[in-house]
């Protein structure tokens, strides 16, 4: 069972991700319930999605360009980025672009091969929700956000340490 961590807490999840690589979409999209659809569906069926009863989010692969979400139409309230394996680092850049370039303020969720060992970096790149891989220990995962008390670089979460050093405000 996938556990969702949101705002550093184990959270319940009303969203359903559809159209994952091994689960092709059969038949029409459900009109009710909150669903997260692939980017291609989002781009191709905007009118149908707007008429749905439930909320609609969109998921994209790390390799897909998040800019297309902002070029036309409405912006989803939830965006998920899928990690096919945790060693595919493209999703980290996608997240930073969503937060820092496109100013996305909604829920940004990491899905796929999401391990407790990557949560700290994922959060630094702007993810605030994490659908853990099924085998992960959720309680231990929550603690991963505190593995490091400071960070050197600028990220989506805060500026670089050198600014805090000058101001005398490092953690």
């Amino acid at each position: 069972m996938t556990t969702l961590i949101k705002q550093r807490r184990i959270a319940s999840d009303g969203w359903r991700v559809i159209g994952l690589p091994n689960e092709p979409i059969a038949g029409p999209l459900p009109t009710e319930g909150d669903i997260i659809v692939p980017l291609a569906v989002w781009r191709g069926q905007q009118a149908a999605l707007l008429g749905r009863q439930g909320r609609t989010g969109v998921w994209l692969e790390g390799a897909e360009d998040p800019a297309v979400l902002f070029s036309s139409g409405f912006i989803p309230e939830l965006i998920a980025v899928r990690f096919p394996t945790f060693t595919d680092g493209r999703g980290y850049s996608a997240a930073r672009l969503l937060r820092e370039r496109h100013g996305f303020r909604g829920e940004l969720r990491a899905i796929g091969d999401v391990l407790r060992d990557t949560l700290f970096d994922l959060a630094r790149c702007g993810f605030d929700a994490f659908a853990l891989r099924d085998d992960q220990d959720a309680d231990a995962a929550v603690a991963a956000f505190d593995e490091f008390s400071e960070v050197y670089q600028a990220g989506a979460d805060r500026g670089p340490l050198f600014t805090r050093r000058v101001e005398g405000t490092p953690a």
Binding site: F86, D88, L115, D117, F148, T163, R165
Partner: protein, 558 residues
């Protein structure tokens, strides 16, 4: 030395705790081998042929005596009493036990060291000139900038899982002693017309299976923009670098596919968004980092006294040919009068290139404290350097180095071989390297002959990954596998430095026991063809091409 502040210290300690927990989970069966592998690699831990190998970072090749003693202690306690200095200025331990690694890292943290990002598909240890800060031809001291980049790259949240490993080298002198043209990013610290520090940015160089000389994409990047520009390069690489084939995943392939101009355009487009953003460097930080570096307190010597010392030194040089030879090869000029930089050759015949025992490390630490302000450098040619030795100490130091086996006067000569660990240790290797290096050193053990041959870099790699930098050796030797047998391909004409060039293959590969003969024949052609003893081996290859060498090597074989 850069001295950690409490935050730097806390971060390495937290990294130790994180890795300790990961190792515990792996040993308890809670973390699979597939999950653990990329996590341990990010911390320099390989599982090799015989045992794990732990690569410890020596940021920009700079070590204190205290740190070197700690490395000796680790070699003695957790290894078999030996360490191997690598071409990326790091040190490798070949026999630690996996369950001991967290403890080793904890010990390293007590002397401000770590193994962070010494492996894995992330930004690796940033390397530089082993004569940084002391070279007479230096324009900008690269250490401060290397440390600024160390902090930027350490646990970078976005670039922990790049398509492939990523190596950055920075050089601040006229001469390029950091092989910047064969790195993923090479930086030349320069000064603009208004004397502001800036960086020439070179991308897409590299060795390995597809050796390429890097391309300049920026002539003078103002220093404030260094980190945002690096972010722009890395982001483009992270997003668009190939991930379908590990042999085509380095940034050089992306640069080649887009063309250097096309790649530069992509970087500029990305950078337009990052420029002047939060990552923009500030003067206060540069000053702070500079102040965290300890600097030698050079003595000012009374001119009369100095004159006397010089006379005595010159007399020794004239009287003692062996000492004079060592000075000629292993002692380098210093920007401060009365001082010299001394290279300790880790290339004695019969010892694997770059290896040092725990006892030797302790002894070098003592010598560094006595003669060189407690500081040691590791060179990418796998030697150690005492960077700040008073000239009056040279003779005494030479005596001690001879006892230690570190005074072989071969820096810049054929037997100063760069070699990877090769098939004796490494699971990637096709062939052994160290025994080949030794066979060549034995063949050329006559010092007079060696001196007559003059400057010559000979580099050996046990496989295509080119850890021994064979492409840029004046003579390069590459181990290849032919139906399960070890063969060696020979290249000539490669060179490192500002005129970096890749060697050309002279012909079919040769059997292991033929390698010293082939080298000897190459040398014979050179000695016959050179116009004077000032024309080096590599110069003759570039003047005549490979043909005369090739025909002499292979005609002989027929």
């Amino acid at each position: 030395m850069y001295l950690y502040d409490p935050i730097d210290q806390r971060l390495v300690e937290e990294r130790v705790a994180q890795f300790r927990d990961q190792t515990r989970r792996f040993l308890a069966g809670q973390l699979s081998e597939d999950d653990f592998r990329p996590l341990r690699l990010r911390n320099g831990l390989y599982i090799q042929k015989r045992a794990p190998m732990l690569r410890v970072a020596i940021p920009y090749g700079l070590l204190s005596a205290t740190q070197l003693r700690k490395l000796a202690h680790i070699a003695r306690t957790y290894d078999r009493g030996c360490g191997h200095f690598s071409t990326r200025q790091n040190i490798q331990f070949n026999w630690p036990r996996l369950e001991d690694v967290p403890e080793i890292l904890a010990e390293l943290a007590t002397v401000q060291m770590h193994a962070i990002q010494t492996s894995g598909n992330c930004v690796r240890n940033i390397t530089t000139d082993h004569f940084a800060g002391v070279a007479p031809d230096e324009i900008v001291d690269p250490f401060v900038w290397a440390e600024v980049m160390r902090q930027w790259s350490t646990l970078h949240p976005e670039f922990g899982f790049l398509p492939r490993k990523f190596k950055i080298a920075i050089n601040g002198s006229v001469e390029d002693r950091a092989a910047t043209l064969v790195h993923d990013i090479g930086l030349h610290a320069v000064r603009s017309d208004s004397s502001e520090i800036g960086f020439r940015v070179i991308v897409g160089g590299g060795l390995g299976r597809t050796p390429i000389i890097g391309h300049v994409i920026r002539e003078c990047l103002p220093w404030r923009h260094l980190l945002t520009y690096l972010d722009a390069i890395l982001r483009g690489y992270n997003r668009y670098g190939r991930r379908d084939n590990k042999y085509k995943a380095r940034i050089k392939i992306l640069v080649k596919d887009l063309t250097p101009a096309g790649f530069a355009e992509q970087v500029e487009a990305e950078w337009a968004h990052l420029k002047d953003g939060p990552g923009t460097l500030i003067q206060e930080e540069i000053d702070r980092v500079a102040q965290q570096f300890t600097r030698p307190a050079y003595a000012t010597v009374d001119p009369v006294l100095r004159k006397q010392e010089e006379v005595r030194y010159d007399a020794r040089l004239a009287a003692d040919r062996a000492f004079a030879r060592w000075v000629e090869r292993n002692v380098q000029a210093h920007r401060v009068a009365g001082y010299a930089a001394v290279t300790l050759s880790l290339k004695k015949t019969g010892v694997p290139p770059g290896d040092a025992t725990a006892d030797q490390m302790d002894a070098v630490a003592d010598l560094a404290e006595r003669h060189s302000f407690g500081e040691i450098r590791v060179s990418h040619e796998q030697n150690l350097v005492l960077p700040d030795v008073p000239v009056r100490d040279l003779h005494e130091l030479w005596g001690r180095l001879k006892e230690l086996g570190f005074a072989t006067p071969n820096i810049g000569l054929l037997t100063n071989i760069i070699s990877c660990p090769g098939g004796d240790f490494c699971s990637l290797a096709n062939a052994v390297s160290i025994p080949v290096a030794e066979a060549i050193q034995r063949r050329f053990d006559d010092l007079d002959y060696l001196y007559d041959i003059g400057e010559l870099d000979l580099n050996i790699s046990g496989c295509m990954n080119a850890c021994g930098h064979h492409h840029v050796g004046n003579i390069g030797i590459l181990g290849v596998d032919k139906n399960g047998e070890e063969w060696y391909q020979i290249t000539i004409g490669g060179r490192q430095g500002a005129q970096a060039a890749l060697g050309r293959v002279i012909g079919p590969s040769v059997a292991r026991d033929e390698v010293p003969d082939v080298i000897e024949r190459l040398i014979a052609v050179y000695l016959e063809q050179r116009e004077s003893e000032h024309e080096r081996f590599v110069d003759v290859v570039h003047r005549l091409g490979i043909e005369p060498f090739k025909s002499h090597v292979y005609d002989y074989a027929d």
